[in-house]
């Protein structure tokens, strides 16, 4: 057993840390504080500096670090990538600047693992280059999407075409002007086995019949310029070759996609929690009330200790999970993936809430990043599967040690 990270991971971490300190964090802080100065407006156009920073990051080799492939990515294992994602996650901009942001990373992994040569050329290459953005269209407004078999959208095969219909929402990234491609998941063959009925289709966003109905807020935030869209697909016709991996493989692909997607979210959230704890400590040691620094009032130290303890535990679980994915694959880490998906967002939500409370009224306002951080953690208790569904997975795998698989399903 060895808790030391690899030399190359440590080297990348240093470089990312330096890049973020030098080029990202101060600017991000300024941008947020500017909201005070102007009439609030939604910036659906990414600032030009973003593209410049992306180029710079790419030039420095801080690019596509998430992909465990030597050629397309940096060839890092998940456990090596974890500290990097954690550091990037402390900023809302950094993941994008390093081309490591959701949902693009997940979509790239889908194309990397399941895409045809043509699909890779058309979409994976420009995504890896950071030239375009993408959305993942799975969740639907009309049904409980925690149960994916509820899905109502259809991808019907008619001859050599596939015809798409349905309404999807929570399509994060739909706000980008260069969001060019969607991965659309829908029902193809209701007569097939429960988990072989659905397909994933690559849909150019400018296809006739594709329309962004409107954007959604999360806890009041539009999350511009990325945003979350509700998108309708009405008789969208595409060649059958637009289906990833062929018809009926959507669940298989989704499971493969969601493993890394979830762990990346969790890695970044650890970073957010760590950032919140730092802010809490800075506030606690610098602000005075009733004649003492806040750190010396009431239960504040206990809360800081509890936050440290919670973060350490959650981080170790994420690392263990990453190591399992590296050594045994996603299927060897099913319980752990669901475990971190429950543990980390709840932990982060709690730590950030504590930091808000220590900041007083200011902690609720746009003076600090804390409200956006909290919202991000809260969203992840639902996104990529609600807590309850993941607890269900963990329990099923636990009970399967004692009864047969069907009984464990309940």
């Amino acid at each position: 057993m060895d808790f030391e990270n690899s030399a190359r991971s440590k080297d990348y971490l240093e470089r990312i840390d330096a890049f973020m300190r030098e080029h990202i964090e101060e600017q991000e802080e300024k941008a947020r504080l500017m909201m005070f100065e102007r009439d609030p407006l939604y910036q659906w156009t990414p600032p030009p500096e973003l593209e410049q920073l992306k180029e710079k990051a790419r030039a420095e080799g801080l690019w596509n670090l998430f992909l465990p492939d030597d050629e397309y990515g940096a060839g890092l294992s998940n456990v090596e990538y974890a500290p990097l994602a954690e550091r990037m996650g402390q900023s809302f901009l950094a993941p994008e600047i390093f081309n490591c942001s959701a949902p693009d990373t997940g979509n790239m992994e889908v194309l990397y693992h399941f895409g045809s040569k043509q699909q890779k050329d058309d979409w994976l290459m420009p995504l890896l280059a950071g030239d375009i953005r993408s959305v993942f269209c799975m969740t639907e407004p009309a049904v409980a999407s925690s149960d994916a078999t509820n899905m109502e959208a259809t991808a019907t095969i008619e001859g050599d075409e596939v015809v798409l219909n349905g309404v999807k929402w929570w399509s994060t990234g739909a706000g980008y002007p260069n969001c060019d491609i969607a991965i659309f998941m829908a029902l193809t063959d209701p007569t097939a086995h429960k988990y072989a009925q659905h397909s994933m289709v690559l849909v150019p966003m400018d296809s006739p019949g594709v329309r962004i109905d409107h954007m959604l807020t999360t806890m009041g935030y539009w999350d511009e310029p990325s945003g979350h869209g509700q998108i309708s697909f009405e008789n969208v016709r595409l060649p059958v070759s637009a289906i990833i991996g062929g018809p009926g493989r959507a669940f298989e692909i989704a499971q493969s996609r969601l493993g890394p997607g979830r762990i990346h979210h969790c890695m970044r959230l650890i970073g957010q929690a760590e950032r919140a704890l730092r802010m809490a400590c800075e506030r606690a040691t610098s602000r005075v009330a009733f004649g003492k620094p806040l750190a010396n009032l009431g239960g504040n130290r206990e809360r800081i200790a509890d936050a440290r303890i919670a973060i350490e535990q959650a981080r170790l679980l994420v690392l263990k999970c990453a190591w399992l994915i590296d050594t045994k694959g996603v299927l060897g880490a099913l319980s752990e993936i669901s475990q971190i998906k429950v543990a980390v967002p709840n932990m982060a939500q709690g730590v950030i809430d504590m930091a808000i409370q220590l900041h007083g009224g200011a902690g609720l306002s746009n003076q600090f990043a804390l409200p956006a951080m909290w919202t991000h953690a809260r969203v992840l208790r639902l996104a990529d599967g609600p807590d309850e569904v993941h607890r269900g997975v963990v329990a099923r795998l636990e009970l399967a040690k004692y009864v047969d698989r069907d009984a464990a399903r309940g």
Copy 2:
């Protein structure tokens, strides 16, 4: 002991309930959903319908119900007003329509109890009439305002004038075009007893030297058209007669103001929690996943039960506290006022979070009022004194049963 509410309180409740069903709730729902349709914009101008509804409510005698005075208000006791405030609190608009919204109610009580004849004529009357709005300027950005003695703003007496300087924030209501008057609290005499150094001054918002620096968001919300302002006061000169109750009485007035202010917040929050539970039950019984209504999945029923249990207990504590204020005055209810100020927002935050979770992604979006409701509850864990300060009051009064007062202060 009798848990039945009075006949006239029940009568008012019926009328308020009918008014809200008929005139308020559907429109409010529509207004929120409209956010989907348009480019988001902040409405700092209250809609004209609001004024019409206020007139209607006033005509029906559903007006100023908060004030336990037969002439100016409805003459209801706090315990009689509680169920009405709870019902109003289920809407974000209703309290204003019935002229029972914060911070105006608190400010009116200050003027009612401590205002001079002239101050009442100038400001209480138009507030009671709903013609103008007001702000309360106490909290400051530069210091920990949980400890009010930290306050840096000054109200210096020079001859027959008082000169105001300082920066205040979290001045809720500053966004209203007809927000005409501020109550400004500041240091007058640093040589006086700790709790006799400060004054409250009535400051017309159009006084030279008064400037709204900017508005603040709470968890991403601008809470327009009311909003929360940061306001600077620079050499604002007013006659000494603008001081409420005379110099040095600010702490005395603040304590008197905050008692009813806090309990009214709590009453309304009970309403929000009740509304969230209703939404949770409706969702749980109407939405299906994994072949069952959500109500029959995992721990959902337990969470619904826990919410019911938590709401009932918190409501009873608020009622008990109201009864104590009615029968023994604010000073006879100090512990209970702090108790509800801790218990109710935390309870409401938890219940609303549960309801969000049951709604899935939709619960985070502007499709439902839940995010705004959550934010409101979260804010109240800091506004009017953070949880920690109120826990401190409760503990001090508890320990004073065992040791003398100074030792109980710690």
Copy 3:
């Protein structure tokens, strides 16, 4: 709405308080501390002082206060009895001394409401006189008794006899030498409606075929001299007239019995929590560490405040529930009875655990009553229905506001 207790309840409270201070509490303390001095031994024989105190209490009219009947009891309503039970509950001996202890009170209520003239003469009179003790035999070791329809014991009618077979446990009170009578619940007619299959039978403990197999510990305690027995019934033959209210009425009687039984437990537990908070405050103000009284260290004040807030809320819910039973009957208070059954033991467990922690190692030992108090609270999260079952009842009644009764059952 009125939170003042009645004059006669206040009068009784004063007298009970004086009696407990004068005659009970010091002795109880001494008895516990004596455990240090001797080789531990289990006192299955009640001390003679107990009978003397019972006589004294009876002579002073502090007797059978639980029974809302003017002749047999004191004619107090539940809401009037609540503060008395709370005060008695602060001692482990007092309820018995005032003839108000479980399970006798519940059994007396069964006989009072459902017993025949003969049954009352034979068993209710001696119980009201405090001459004998009783047990209630419902729970069984072999099945999940949270679902009472699981019950395996039988009460088969053969001619004019009823024949009893089965094993019951958690029969509290079985350790008393004068435990003369059991109420035994068992299956009589499996063909009847689900809730009309069972009967309750009065079984003299000296009937042939009745045997106490062994006693049970709760968290290590034997709870002597009362104790919890496992009792087997083997071909016990009794006349049919031993059945209370006639065959098939056991569920009806049980529901009626458990309402008051549960609320009495909760009232007493409020007393235990209040006692634990008092102990915590006394320790916090008298014990010094790191140069300060414990009260001024870390989060201790916050915990004391939280305990106060939790107790107040729970007490009010119990009082409201008592008032509902008084004014609308047990059936009008079903949700509230289950609500307090969840809320109060959990609250008490938490408050007592906090008090233990404040007492350090001593708090775990027989130097203080805290471990026994904690155990008592913990037991009540299972006795008379586990938390989970009561949460189910609360949820069902909540959801029934939105869907029909069958759907609410889930």
Copy 4:
């Protein structure tokens, strides 16, 4: 980073597991269940089988595995020992059988690191051989021992003698007939630096002036045959050579002792939590209520999942802490040692409480080991430093990243 345990650790684990299955667990179960059959009595004499099993374990080389020394122990690192201690910890007898039980392990480490040649010969050797037992006498009844500087016992040097006076309690192991030696900590020189005033003295239990006043219960348990003693030392005279490492080094030694002591406790508690989860799953899948296995009722699956998630996180934190002690020493792991000391007992207490609840009434009784397990976890929230003190250490080390050391102390 590598989460795989070493080959030799895995080999030891297999052998310990086999030994426990074959020789310990069934017998232990039987012994507990025997309590049903007899009048309860306290077995202060260890059963003869215990000594036989110790011999057997020693013969198989499963002996002193805790000591990272090739000669005296097995030469295992802490991280290699962790899984073994976890497995042993699932039984109350196993640690003793493998000569790895508290407080002997801690006392042996003290002697190993700080003992003179003579002290080692006299006391370390027989302890390593399992021939005698020992107690650690630090905590005192009269003062808050969470602050060790409160200590009132004295070890006064008079010429070449040291004279001991004081009363100690919570001396675990004092009940063993072969408990021959005590390590006694007391004040030697009040004029020295705060952390150099105290000494640790080796006191043969048969020294004149040593008396076991009485034993203490924990939550009602006597924990026989080990037990927890209150021991008085009255003018006990010993040669100065009885002081370990010389006068004034007690705090230094204590810190060194408590590091491994605490982590061993935590390792074993992970085992207890794992055992409780197993019991919960077995019960949940085998017991039926309301027509379903308990696993499929209400929130039971969520609780099982939460337990799994909590255990995994706590175990990883313990392993990380062990690895830090191995690679950086106790001083390099101060925060982590306090972190696990908070995290693990609280986690275990929660998991075991959940398991109790799933077992219904049986879970509270001596039919299952759960009450003893719960008590053990609860005790460890106070033993070796209460949660609050350890949270204080974690917070201090956290805040020291932002302010200087003195400010971080608060």
